[in-house]
């Protein structure tokens, strides 16, 4: 392009018209495309719920995770090459994995590896722990998973908490753990366990571990706080770890007697449905749990499983 001759008035108008015309044309083109192309492809199109059950004695948890993701259409459907993936396990308590207070490290490892195989640029493991984070990382096994897979285990520093607009019913603004919101994809891997106020802590409640601030005041209206946060974080997928569940003395547990072996994994893109299915494992009706009812009311999902594509796999 010749930069030395001045551009005339006529030339300018002509160029502006070309530009305007092409923008108009591009808009028309996009609008006329079939809507399925403009939105997502595959099973995420609608809600789905996959249940994986380990029936054989000594089955591999890793294999079960892989089978569950395959049944949902494969990890490639959810994670694109070059994505930054944030994984939110529940590793808040410095308890060994067998006590079912924290997400099973084998599940965590399998999901990290799946994301890496799908070509994720970076996989982060993020949780704002309750006990000292270094001790939690060591004792729950998350530290070892991070070291062996090369995933980034983010230390919950207070400098990483940033006040953000939640826009919920109860919570308007709240300090949020930024590495979670600054990721392209978000996978929630909670453990299913007992809780004395919300009755159970499942997928949606796991988001209380993704915020900072004086988060213990959230308990004063726990169900609405859970739903507000779940709406804000809105994960790509929820994988509930119910390999072992804690049935009493939650959420910290501490004894083998409180742990029940269920050998179940629940994967869904509907956070309400995943929680509802997991509630059944405890013999509780989904509609009896406040946060599940509220989650449905605020349009987060459904606990009417007939509206979803249901699949079961077992090994």
């Amino acid at each position: 392009m010749d930069l030395y001759t001045p551009v005339g008035r006529r030339e300018t108008i002509k160029k502006l018209l070309y530009m305007g015309g092409s923008i108009l044309f591009a808009n028309l083109l996009v609008d006329s495309l079939p809507s399925s192309l403009a939105t997502k492809l595959g099973p995420e199109n609608s809600g789905f719920i996959v249940e994986g059950i380990g029936k054989q004695k000594g089955y591999s948890v890793t294999q079960l995770v892989r089978r569950v993701f395959d049944a949902a259409g494969g990890i490639d459907h959810f994670i694109s090459r070059g994505d930054v993936v944030a994984i939110k396990p529940n590793i808040s308590w410095a308890r060994s994995p067998g006590l079912a207070a924290t997400t099973n490290p084998e599940v965590l490892r399998a999901v990290v590896e799946l994301c890496q195989e799908a070509g994720a640029k970076k996989v982060r493991i993020v949780d704002h722990t309750i006990h000292d984070a270094r001790r939690c990382f060591a004792i729950t096994g998350a530290g070892r998973v991070a070291r062996e897979t090369g995933a980034e285990l983010v230390f919950p520093r207070s400098s990483l908490m940033r006040k953000m607009k939640i826009g919920g019913v109860r919570l308007d603004t709240w300090p949020v753990f930024t590495p979670i919101v600054e990721a392209d994809k978000l996978i929630n891997i909670p453990i299913a366990k007992h809780h004395s106020l919300s009755k159970l802590t499942l997928g949606m409640k796991n988001w209380i571990g993704a915020v900072g601030g004086s988060r213990w005041v959230l308990h004063q209206d726990i169900n609405q706080s859970i739903v507000d946060l779940a709406r804000f974080f809105n994960p790509t997928l929820t994988l509930i770890d119910a390999i072992r569940i804690m049935t009493r003395n939650g959420p910290s547990g501490g004894k083998k007697e409180y742990v029940a072996k269920k050998d179940v994994l629940i994967l869904s893109n509907d956070p309400v449905a995943a929680d509802a299915r997991a509630a059944l494992l405890f013999g509780k009706r989904p509609a009896d749990l406040g946060f599940i009812r509220l989650g449905k009311r605020w349009g987060l999902g459904t606990f009417d499983f007939r509206q979803l594509q249901q699949k079961k796999v077992h090994i």
């Binding site: 410095a94 490290p105 000292d132 060591a138 530290g143 520093r157 004063q220 910290s252």
Partner: protein
């Protein structure tokens, strides 16, 4: 060996030991990179330990070993290092002060960097003065008090003092500065600065703490340390010459003149350079008697002498050195002070009668009467505590227990499966316990009580189960009961009300720490019921 080489040998040694001290200080923390094999730890909780020998300098310090032997009648682990130092001192003089002591090195550095006096005035300042007898007074007072069951040695012991000052004042204050700097960068809208802040924190947080650490009376510890550094402007290594009880102890032990300063009177031109550079005021100039108990073997005098009139020699014949010049006043005063200190210390009744309810000792601490015969107040347990709960006391333990460790639950809490503090205590004032012992015996450090007037559900203000949720024992010591309370307009409202089961409560304080009522929580832990004390039991 040539003199030049000796001076450089000393400098290298000083640099090495100072670096080692700082390195071990930085490593005195919950290890950052610990990866437990999760497939084998499915049943029991694991003991996490620091792999570096972070107690090394306390073992090397003979005063720490000697005072705990005198007062607590126990040999600390690794006391052999201190014994070796004492043994070598008998032949080589105060080589520990000149070659090893990190506080000595820092004092040396400060007095060398900016001496306030010059020339003749510096020569006069470096003459031996009666003030140097004061350190013997300090030593005698501390040792006699130790014999009479009050161990205050750590207040003045250079290793304890330096560790406490750096760990509780210098490192946290730098940490607070850095973290506010990183916070400002993290809050900026420029992405690059965010990354820079994150990277900076990843690099520096292991040393300066992840969240800003703070300690009760930290400002006072820091101020004293600055004052000790400032004293170097009055006299070079003022602390080492006049105040240090370890220096005094080593001076007393410098009995045999294996290492001697040979003075050649005929070569001397009285230029005074040797005195000008003398760090210990040990009379190096020919014509005076060299003072082996004051000499810290820095080798400066023979190094600077232009006439080569001074030389250090190793004589392979044992001849007794002059006894240290203590003076009668220092000895008598020291005895008097040493006898009165333990009684003065117990006058407030904190040790014998009843302990302060706020005096929550770390898990595994020995009974109070024994504790004050052992604790060096070095701050090692406070430095390693991952939640910043362990703090130096102000008045909670009485005068006798000033700066001994105490848990402040608003600062942190005792993690249920953490046993780090006991594993690092150089003296064993806090026993090394295992997680299994801590949980299963259980080791109680206090008990929690609910203030129903403040508690949100009890006062009918809001549902809240935070204390119960965090309670780590199984079954939980804090339990809930569904009961009716009345709202403001008299309407009945069903609430889950928290209660404490004292049989199960171990006093860990996580309930107090997490209670939404900050600063003065609605549930509070007091020392009553601590398992180390027979007097302080609540339940039958």
């Amino acid at each position: 060996m040539r003199v030049k080489q000796l001076v450089w040998l000393r400098r290298i040694s000083q640099g090495f030991f100072l670096f080692l001290f700082l390195f071990l200080l930085a490593e005195s923390r919950l290890p950052q990179k610990i990866f437990l094999e999760y497939s084998v730890v499915f049943t029991s909780e694991q003991d996490i330990r620091i792999s570096w020998p972070i107690r090394f300098f306390f073992q090397l310090d003979p005063l720490v070993g000697l005072s705990s032997l005198l007062s607590g009648h126990r040999l600390i682990t690794g006391f052999i290092w201190g014994a070796i130092v004492l043994f070598l001192t008998m032949f080589l003089g105060r080589a520990f002060c000149g070659f090893i002591c990190p506080l000595g090195t820092i004092n040396h550095l400060v007095s060398r960097l900016k001496p306030s006096l010059k020339g003749d005035r510096l020569i006069r300042a470096n003459q031996k003065s009666p003030g140097q007898k004061f350190k013997y007074f300090v030593l005698i007072a501390l040792l006699i008090a130790s014999v009479l069951t009050l161990n205050l040695t750590g207040l003045m012991d250079p290793i304890s003092l330096l560790f406490r000052s750096l760990a509780l004042a210098v490192v946290p204050s730098v940490g607070i500065g850095l973290s506010s700097f990183f916070h400002a960068m993290a809050n900026s809208d420029i992405k690059f600065l965010n990354y820079l802040s994150y990277g900076g924190e990843v690099l520096l947080a292991p040393i300066f703490g992840y969240e800003s650490q703070a300690y009760q009376t930290g400002w006072f510890i820091g101020l004293l340390f600055l004052f000790i550094l400032f004293l170097n402007r009055i006299r070079a290594r003022f602390w080492c010459r006049v105040l240090c009880p370890l220096g005094a102890l080593l001076g007393v032990f410098a009995r045999f003149g294996l290492l001697t300063l040979k003075k050649d009177q005929e070569k001397c031109t009285n230029c005074g350079l040797c005195s000008q550079f003398c760090q210990g005021a040990a009379c190096p100039e020919p014509g005076n008697d060299w003072q082996p108990t004051e000499c810290i073997t820095c080798f400066n005098c023979s190094n600077v002498c232009p006439e080569h009139a001074l030389s250090f020699r190793l004589k392979w014949r044992l001849n007794l050195n002059k006894a240290p010049d203590m003076g009668r006043r220092a000895v008598l005063g020291g005895i008097l002070a040493g006898v009165s200190l333990p009684f003065l210390g117990k006058l407030d009744g904190r040790v014998e009668k009843v302990s302060d309810s706020r005096l929550i000792r770390p898990p595994g601490a020995v009974p109070e009467e024994e504790f004050i015969t052992l604790c060096q107040r070095c701050g090692l347990c406070m430095k390693v505590c991952p939640t910043n709960a362990i703090n130096p006391t102000l008045g909670e333990a009485g005068m006798a227990g000033f700066w001994t460790p105490r848990l402040i639950m608003t600062m942190g809490y005792c993690e249920y499966t953490c046993t780090l503090c006991g594993s690092v205590c150089p003296i064993g004032a806090i026993r090394e316990i295992s997680v299994k012992e801590k949980i299963e015996r259980p080791i109680k450090i206090g008990a929690a009580f609910i203030d129903r007037g403040k508690c949100l559900p009890w006062s009918g203000n809001a549902p809240c189960i935070v204390c119960e949720e965090h309670c780590p024992t199984s079954p939980k010591a804090i339990y809930l009961r569904r009961e009716m309370v009345k709202t403001r307009n008299g309407r009945p409202l069903e609430m889950q009300l928290p209660f404490v089961d004292l049989k199960r409560c171990v006093g860990c304080g996580i309930c107090e720490n997490k209670c939404p009522i900050k600063g003065d929580a609605a549930i509070k832990v007091i020392a009553a019921g601590e398992s180390r004390s027979l007097k302080n039991q609540i339940l039958l």
